[in-house]
């Protein structure tokens, strides 16, 4: 954006220096040059077409062949090369004068060449004069209000000068038309008429400047506000993370100390305890473990919510490895309840975060085991579905979930009456955590269940990263 921070601040008390002005200025300069290349192409194409198809041009009433567009294009090319060479030499970010000078030279030169084109094409015979509007609009977008007004005035002065010179006969009238066309309401070239015409164009351009510059100022202000809000949010997020980190420690550390001491007592490190003392210590240890696990799950949920706000690199994951890791992890619980785990796991790949997927699968498999009847079976399968996406199915034949409660099972701390009766120790967060992982990974999860017959969780995982699941492709992508 052209202008020093001081100029920007005078526009509005709310305007702030949001972007690096030096980088923004150079970006604008290069963009102007790119736009000019497009104009060169258009103008050159017109000239070459008029030369190649001069007969056609003349038949439709256009002067041909014309060489002035080639001269104009040549001037634009030389000017553009000069601007770009100058831009490459601008290296000092603290001094914006060379950049601003480059921009103003571009603007004024373009307006002068534009005026020449307007004269040659026919200031009165064509509507080419409205192309000044593009310069005014661009000035409103890239310059502060005062400076864009100056550009508008320069355009007006140049256009008025062309008209005046043509009317006074100093400049011969010119046109792209063989027989110059007249606008229906123009009867003669009298000065009052020409003055009225020029004045009305001037009013239109000034109104345009007023509207466009105001909109542009509003947009810049909104952008600054958004950027400031974003920075505030990021600072808040960072503070929240630090607070959560500290809270994690403050919550878990005391339990760690209590459990450690309980282990010392239970392990006989402090001598033999009476049976009653052992029982009480054991209960203390178990209650501590449950509290620790609850804190763990609460923090996992908070972690996942934080992770969802800040996408992490996606990696290609072998699902079978995750599932087998989970099965090893839950083997002890399964053995305690004499639950047989049947695996039909094929090699399948998905994209995401491996630790999150392990938590997801682990929670579902643990649920399947815990809510199975003793000596029951849990089935875990993984294969590619018909559309090439990997499908994981986790099935148990346990207590099942009532149909009316099914929509609520992913709510935090929600447990059905049957689940509470079957297992008092659950925190009610396992499926809420699973849901979070599913949402952040773009996984389709469906559940079927019937009381007394068991529950089936079906997960359709993404075969590749997609925009919907908001993953960035990490460096591990093959």
């Amino acid at each position: 954006m052209v202008g020093t921070p001081a100029i920007l601040r005078t526009e509005s008390p709310h305007v702030c220096q949001c972007h690096d002005p030096h980088d923004q200025l150079l970006a604008n300069l290069r963009w102007y040059c790119q736009l000019r290349w497009i104009v060169v192409l258009i103008v050159t194409a017109y000239a070459l077409t008029s030369i190649s198809f001069s007969g056609c041009f003349q038949r439709i009433g256009l002067v041909a062949p014309v060489y002035w567009p080639l001269h104009l294009a040549g001037l634009l090319v030389l000017a553009n090369l000069g601007y770009l060479a100058h831009i490459r030499r601008i290296t000092k970010p603290e001094d914006s004068r060379p950049g601003r000078m480059n921009l103003w030279v571009q603007i004024v030169t373009d307006l002068i060449l534009m005026s020449i084109a307007v004269h040659i094409a026919g200031s009165q015979e064509t509507h080419i004069a409205f192309s000044y509007v593009i310069h005014i609009a661009l000035a409103c977008i890239f310059l502060p209000r005062q400076q864009s007004f100056v550009v508008t005035m320069i355009a007006l002065v140049l256009y008025t000068a062309v008209i005046t010179l043509e009317i006074s006969g100093i400049l011969p009238r010119s046109s792209v038309f063989i027989t110059p066309a007249r606008m229906p309401d123009r009867v003669h070239d009298s000065f009052p008429i020409q003055f009225l015409q020029t004045a009305s164009v001037s009013v239109f351009w000034i109104l345009l400047w007023f509207l466009a510059s105001h909109l542009s100022t509003l947009t810049r202000w909104r952008e600054c506000e958004l950027e400031r809000s974003n920075q505030d949010l990021q600072a808040l997020q960072k503070n929240r993370q630090e607070h959560m980190l500290r809270m994690t420690h403050e919550l878990k550390a005391p339990f760690a100390a209590i459990q450690a001491n309980a282990q010392l007592l239970l392990g006989g490190y402090c001598g033999e305890l009476s049976e009653k003392a052992l029982e009480l210590t054991s209960r203390t240890y178990q209650r501590c473990s449950k509290m620790s696990w609850m804190i763990q799950e609460m923090l996992q949920l908070a972690n996942l919510e934080t992770a969802a706000q800040k996408p992490m690199p996606a990696e290609s994951i072998e699902i079978a490895e995750c599932l087998r890791w989970c099965v090893t992890h839950v083997r002890q619980i399964a053995d305690q309840r004499h639950i047989h785990i049947q695996e039909e796991i094929e090699a399948c790949r998905t994209w995401g975060q491996v630790e999150h997927l392990k938590v997801l699968f682990n929670n579902l498999i643990v649920n399947a085991i815990v809510y199975s009847h003793e000596n029951g079976a849990v089935e875990i399968s993984c294969r590619y579905g018909e559309n090439g996406a990997p499908v994981v199915v986790i099935r148990d034949h346990g207590i099942g979930i009532p149909g009316d409660k099914l929509p609520r099972i992913f709510e935090e701390y929600f447990r059905t009456d049957e689940a509470v009766k079957h297992n008092k120790d659950s925190t009610g967060l396992g499926l809420a955590i699973a849901k979070r992982v599913v949402e952040t990974h773009g996984i389709r999860l469906s559940v079927e269940s019937a009381i007394g017959e068991g529950t089936v969780f079906t997960l359709v995982l993404p075969a590749k990263p997609t925009e919907e699941n908001n993953w960035r492709i990490g460096s591990q992508q093959s």
Binding site: L245, K252, Q263, Q296, L299, Q300
Partner: protein, 129 residues
């Protein structure tokens, strides 16, 4: 027998760890601050450091202390077992630089509350290696 230095601001927990490791035949010293721990290391370099991550003055003091130790030539190869109440699988608030494997100059993690059987096994493994 190996000499282990336990560095943890939680005196109860540090004392429990000291008891368990001593029962396994190790010689154990405890420091509750990283500053005094550094002096202790210089006086008598341990065979293993059992180090907490979070200290009252700094939530990532453990990481910084581990890097400080490893930065000194004499202690570059000193094994460190990091104890943390923060779930290692879900780094929360730590920078990637803290938990990136290339940066993390430790031998192993153990998550609090720590099972002493697991702790003893990890200590054994690290000292063997």
């Amino acid at each position: 027998m190996a000499y282990i230095l336990v560095v943890d601001d939680d005196t109860d927990f540090a004392s429990a760890v000291e008891t368990v490791l001593k029962s396994s035949g190790y010689e154990v010293a405890v420091e509750n601050q990283t500053a005094t721990a550094m002096e202790s290391i210089r006086k008598r370099p341990p065979d293993l450091i059992v180090l907490d991550v979070m200290f009252p003055e700094n939530s990532t003091e453990g990481f910084e202390f581990a890097r400080k130790i490893k930065a000194e030539k004499a202690y570059k190869a000193m094994p460190i077992l990091l104890l943390t109440a923060v779930n290692e699988k879900f780094p929360f608030g730590f920078n990637p630089a803290d938990i990136d494997n290339e940066w993390l100059p430790i031998s192993d993690f153990a998550e609090k509350p720590v099972d002493f059987a697991v702790l003893k096994a990890k200590v054994r493994t690290i000292l063997k290696g």
